[in-house]
Amino acid sequence: MNPIIKAENLSFSYPGDEESKPVKALRGVSFEIPEGSFTAILGHNGSGKSTLAKLLCMVNLPDSGRLWVAGREITAPDATERDILEARRDVGMVFQNPDNQIVATIVEEDVAFGCENLGIPPAEIRERVDAALAAVGMSEYARKQTYNLSGGQKQRVAIAGTIAMNRRCVIFDESTAMLDPMGRREVMDIIAKLNREQGVTVLLITHHMNEAAAADRIIVMNQGQIYLDGSPREVFGKPAAMWAAGLDVPQTTELAYKLRQKGLDVPLYLFDAESCAEAVAEAVRRRSGKSAGGGKTGS
């Protein structure tokens, strides 16, 4: 399938001022995001992941390298504002701070904002907004004030806004970072549903290992470059490499890794507590079974 986003050797620096030198935030990043995929971009603060997000949603343009978004090369010499605008119809972004991306006072009017900008006829906007609010489970809040919603609900409204625009790809720039655990789960469930049921390409920028584990593919950024790229199994299968880059692995992986060093055979890629606990129990049983003659080992 055609990639919806293709990056070739992207570089970007933030200009310095009198006191600081320019900061090279991205140094030659290349990747392809196939349509319909669910990719997580991981990295600690300053790894370049948010800079990358800003390039992908065309807030900033790269210093060098080439970038295709939804089939248009926006770094082409003859690319105009028009091309960027067209590309934005297909690729959207949900930001970190829920308060600073909601424009309207009333929930449904905020969801409609993007469609209104596209100049869609009112009757169709109404249909799309109702469907989008239903998809994120916020239908009963349609006429409520955005201000009184919880953080998780605000992010769901923001997601509904991109669903209503029928976008093919949505980038989540640490969209769960300011939420409580409950709001985080709500939003993650909807992101997964968006990808599975509506076939929307999801690019999840995060520093939560467990959220990244839900993706099909993880790209790990470090010092402005791609450090690791692979399935969650592959990436979290190298805990030592992750720790070396100043990153964590899911707690279950860390536990499994430490148990393996003690000679207990537990797989590294079980990311939810339940199945990990079962695997540990299983491994302990196996070991105590082996040494059953010896008596009381494996306590």
Binding site: R89, F95, N100, N117, Y147
Partner: protein, 275 residues
């Protein structure tokens, strides 16, 4: 604190007046204000007062709220009354003391002018501030002023600014409270000292508030751009305002009221005075 922030002076309700098309309400308010200025005779004022009472009852809003709206203008009301009573000259001298002369015309005039101010307050409260949300007013104004776009008046931009300002008022109120708490926790004192000292104490609140407001504005602008916002051109609205027959029935009522006032002025000019 969060849930009871009411923008402006809007008092919720579901009366006929609440449900009128906000554009028509603006027109009604404008015509109504003109009608109030047309009134010259006591009979016309009596009619308008009765009409205002009916409108107030129709909104279902407690009348004491309308008196509350008059409170900030009390100084202007008293001042106008005093000026009229003591400085208006007429034919029927009632009272004289050195240079002070009070005429009957002056008293009648003062009474009617005060009544006119009160009627104006009631008119704008009934049709605009109390029964229409600021958001609806903004939308309505944008649509009413739409023809001005041809003259390159930035109508859409203005209304977008108003909408965003309204949207961020509660957010910034919360933020202010957080900053006050944070500064109080560090030992800042906002409640003692003279005016100057208290004014200076506001600086540590205002600076963080401004910085944060600018950051929010920057992020919001980026978010709006990512949602394909390019200004008013080619933009549609999901909820376009629709006026129904009842709106125009109400509008005609106000026109009739105006006609009645003119007739009363002409044919029953009881105590008609220069106003």
């Amino acid at each position: 604190m969060k849930s009871d922030i009411t923008f402006g002076q809007y008092v919720g309700g579901d009366s006929l007046i609440h449900r009128l098309d906000p554009r028509v309400k603006i027109l009604i308010a404008l015509v109504y204000i003109v009608v109030i200025f047309l009134a010259k005779s006591v009979t016309a004022f009596a009619l308008l007062t009765a009409a205002a009472a009916v409108f107030v009852l129709m909104t279902g809003i407690p009348p004491r709220l309308f008196f509350r709206a008059m409170r900030p203008l009390i100084f202007i009301i008293v001042f106008t009354a005093v000026i009229n009573i003591f400085f208006m000259r007429g034919e029927h001298l009632l009272f004289e003391f050195h240079f002070i002369r009070v005429y009957r015309e002056g008293i009648v005039n003062a009474f009617l002018i005060v009544l006119r101010i009160l009627l104006l307050i009631v008119a704008t409260s009934v049709f605009m501030t109390y029964t229409t949300t600021p958001l609806a007013l903004t939308d309505a104004l944008e649509q009413l002023l739409n023809p001005l776009k041809k003259l390159h008046v930035p109508v859409h931009e203005f209304s977008m600014m108003m909408t965003i300002a309204l949207r961020f008022i509660p957010t910034l109120i919360d933020e202010t409270q957080k900053i006050i708490n944070a500064q109080t926790a560090r030992g800042a004192d906002f409640t003692s000292g003279g005016l100057l000292k208290r004014g200076r104490a506001l600086i540590p609140i205002l600076i963080p508030l401004f910085i944060s407001a600018f950051r929010r504005a920057d992020e919001l602008a980026t978010a709006m751009e990512c949602r394909c916002y390019t200004g008013g051109e080619g933009r549609t609205r999901m909820n376009s305002l629709k006026s129904e027959p009842k709106d125009w029935v109400f509008f005609s009522t106000i026109l009739l009221l105006g006609a009645a006032v003119v007739c009363l002025n002409l044919f029953f000019p009881v105590a008609a005075v220069k106003l």
